[in-house]
Symmetry: C2
Subunit: 459 residues, 2 copies
């Protein structure tokens, strides 16, 4: 086995935790394009956004010049309950692969939400509390984000209303119960509690719901009830900002041992984890201080970076949200059943989309069965049962490590392990039973939904 002067797990001390988030946009020459009002085609103002989002979060959303934004003391206190998260040297995986590569992963799953989502949930809940709000609303599909937000709201004594896609509400009762244990009210969507929910139920009585519909309901409730705002767990600039703690801790830990990564890998759905993990490294790259290969990994069934179009599109399938410029498959694109619920989004964060467009990062897509093969190998040798989303990054990291084995290069690979798969055992069961299928959308399917992209001035 390798020389183990580097510990298995690098834990920072609490004093080494970041005191400010890093705002990647400040170092971008080509800024991400602004959100547009779908009615007027004009950039949304703080005034237009503040009935939906908390004031301070609107400011963070629109700020593309301040490089560091202080993390309030209350949020740092909460972070200490589950952070710093470990940066793990994957000695056992390296040995299993027989690779000369050095593999590290930043593990964000050691908290009850089971993922990195808590990093932004607690920030968003804090600003809601600070503004004197009563509560927040959101949607959840697989449930990680809803769980994280429930935990955050419980901590600050905020009311939390989660619209959970009906099919998940019924098929994932355990996630629902975690949210309820944290005091959230969880409503299956579409529901009779909103105008849009009632309308959809009247039109499609048997529908099992969709994320787009759940978003619409959550936004309606937030805007119609005084003292409520809507919060979102990915895609937005503010979310990437909060998630920069992942990358900042990773960089501090690597620096502590004088390690310089060659390749940084993250899975990408809406971009919250990837954007957070790469933030300080991308910053160095943008400022010309260092160079890294940065790889986004997406499912072959929902390949927004690798097969999408860089254009303005709706963030939701219901087409009620602002327009964002991003790599998109079209908001009407319906990904095939893929167990990585967190990666089934038709678009991608505007910030990451711009960076990809400008050549600062690569993207690759991987198929589901090979993702679960990687997940199983990882679970067996590293002792952590990974979330399907995270396993996309594992797959790509293993593939890069195997290339090193062929070439004999001792590259240093860092990847983001965003969470655990304890609530994804239905997917593992399918894999264990040999019943998992891969589906790759045809060019025609993608062209059909891209053809429906909204017409806006910039398009």
């Amino acid at each position: 086995m390798a020389d183990k002067t580097i510990p298995y797990k690098i834990y920072l001390s609490e004093e080494d935790m970041p005191k400010a988030w890093y705002n990647l946009r400040a170092d971008m020459k080509n800024k991400p394009a602004p959100l547009l009002n779908p009615g007027t085609g004009k950039p949304l103002t703080a005034e237009e956004l503040s009935p939906i989002f908390c004031e301070e979060l609107v400011a963070q959303e629109l700020d593309d010049t301040t490089p560091f934004i202080e993390i309030p003391e209350e949020i740092r206190s909460f972070y200490k309950m589950f952070r710093p998260s470990p940066l793990v040297r994957a000695y056992c995986l390296e040995e299993k692969l027989g690779t000369p590569a050095k593999i590290y992963y930043k593990f964000e799953g050691n908290n009850t939400s089971g993922s990195h989502k808590l990093n932004s949930a607690i920030a968003q809940a804090y600003y809601a509390k600070k503004q004197g709000l009563k509560g927040v609303t959101t949607e959840t599909g697989a449930g990680q984000w809803g769980t994280a937000l429930s935990m955050a709201c419980s901590y600050f004594g905020l009311d939390c209303k989660v619209y959970m896609v009906k099919v998940s509400y019924e098929q994932k009762p355990f996630r629902r119960e975690v949210m309820r244990t944290y005091g959230a009210s969880v409503v299956p969507s579409p529901s009779e509690t909103t105008e849009i929910g009632r309308k959809i139920l009247a039109e499609f009585p048997g529908t099992t719901g969709s994320l787009g519909c759940a978003i619409s309901e959550a936004v309606e409730v937030a805007t119609k009830n005084p003292g409520y705002r809507y919060v979102l767990g990915s895609v937005l600039n503010q979310v990437l900002l909060h998630q920069s703690v992942i990358g900042l801790e990773t960089k501090t830990a690597l620096d502590k041992y004088g390690i310089k990564p060659d390749i940084i890998i993250g899975c990408a759905g809406g971009g919250s984890n990837l954007g957070g993990l790469i933030a300080p490294f991308m910053g160095e790259k943008l400022r010309g201080e260092a160079d890294y290969r940065i790889i986004a990994v997406e499912p072959a069934s929902c390949p927004s970076f690798t097969r999408g179009t860089f254009a303005y599109d709706f963030c939701d399938t219901g087409m009620i949200c602002p327009l964002a410029k991003m790599y998109t498959l079209g908001s009407s694109f319906i990904p095939s059943a893929n167990h990585a619920g967190g990666l089934r989004f038709h678009g991608m964060s505007s910030t990451l989309s711009q960076l990809y467009h400008d050549g600062y990062m690569e993207a690759t897509s991987v198929e589901q069965t090979s993702v679960f093969e990687a997940a199983e190998m990882f679970a067996r040798v590293e002792g952590i049962l990974p979330a399907p989303e995270s396993s996309h990054a594992i797959r790509a990291a293993i593939d890069e490590a195997l290339k090193c084995k062929e070439s004999g290069e001792e590259k240093t690979i860092v990847f983001g392990l965003t969470g655990t798969g304890y609530f994804d055992l239905v997917a593992y069961q399918k894999f264990n039973d040999g019943e998992m299928s891969d589906y790759i959308p045809t060019d025609e399917e993608i062209a059909a939904s891209v053809a429906k992209l909204p017409k806006v001035p910039e398009n």
Copy 2:
């Protein structure tokens, strides 16, 4: 909030991890009574035990004089994947309770088995591998032990056959899938694969199984198949020995900050967690070097310490295992439905039983609903969804902290948080729905099963 010179989480460095397990029995004046052969009533010899257990484990089981037993390098390597586990200062819980007490918990749930069981599973798998065995067999109820053993066997390339109580196999498919992902074969018990299974199925065609029956099947397969041995996750001396890593790490972490606990609290089913947590502290107490209040917490529905009898009894309900002297409710005692599956055992480790009998520790019992109230409060303020078993210790720790609030005493309380409740959401759902019930067995019920204790010379 309190002065925070102590970090939220005390992590030891890998060099600070124990290099030897501590064998508490070496410091006991009154040794735990030996296991007896139920046929002859005589103490079991190494020769009699070795067809069932691995040789080195038999030696550990019988050794009550060696105080420290080296942890092999291979096991220490594996420990580094999930250890050292954090000792957490429960600042948020203290604040919520408004207590002057200082509360710490040793958290063993940050690994995929979700509990402390992995500490002994990896040791038992290691010795099986070292002996050149092909594999091991075991039983599992709730599934923590089976999961831990599957992970350990996968690491060492051993075959792992788990007999899972049929009702759990059907109602807890997710635990089963974790085990399968780690390559274990999981058989619902009773099964057609064993003689005793076929016999039971013929006699009781509709049975949903029991732990006693699963033990019988696992033992039969181990003894009939060359190259296999049976392993067990609690009760035995060897298991308490391996679990001493919990207490050793806890003591090192406390010593590092000059903290001396007043009260040490652990939940108690078979005693593996409690015995491990208290080991070095009890050692000091036995040697007269320090004094601590040590409290075992058991469910009111299965109160072996507080309402049981100190006598020789079978370890299993099937009455095929050796006789152990312990606090017992009688091996025919059937605890009412209690969601803390790991605490539904009629007896208690012989070592802990002797210590309790000799007045070195206290015991208390708590009711299920109050346990879940404590669990919910803990989850909300400390951010970890605890296992129902662990929550018994939380309940008792909260009660002690509230006594400090009344008296104004600044006591230091340490408790064991053995695991997470991610696979116990059915129980949480019952609690959330207000459908949880408490049941305390009557004196007559306990007397009836105690009356059936086996007749042995020492009785």
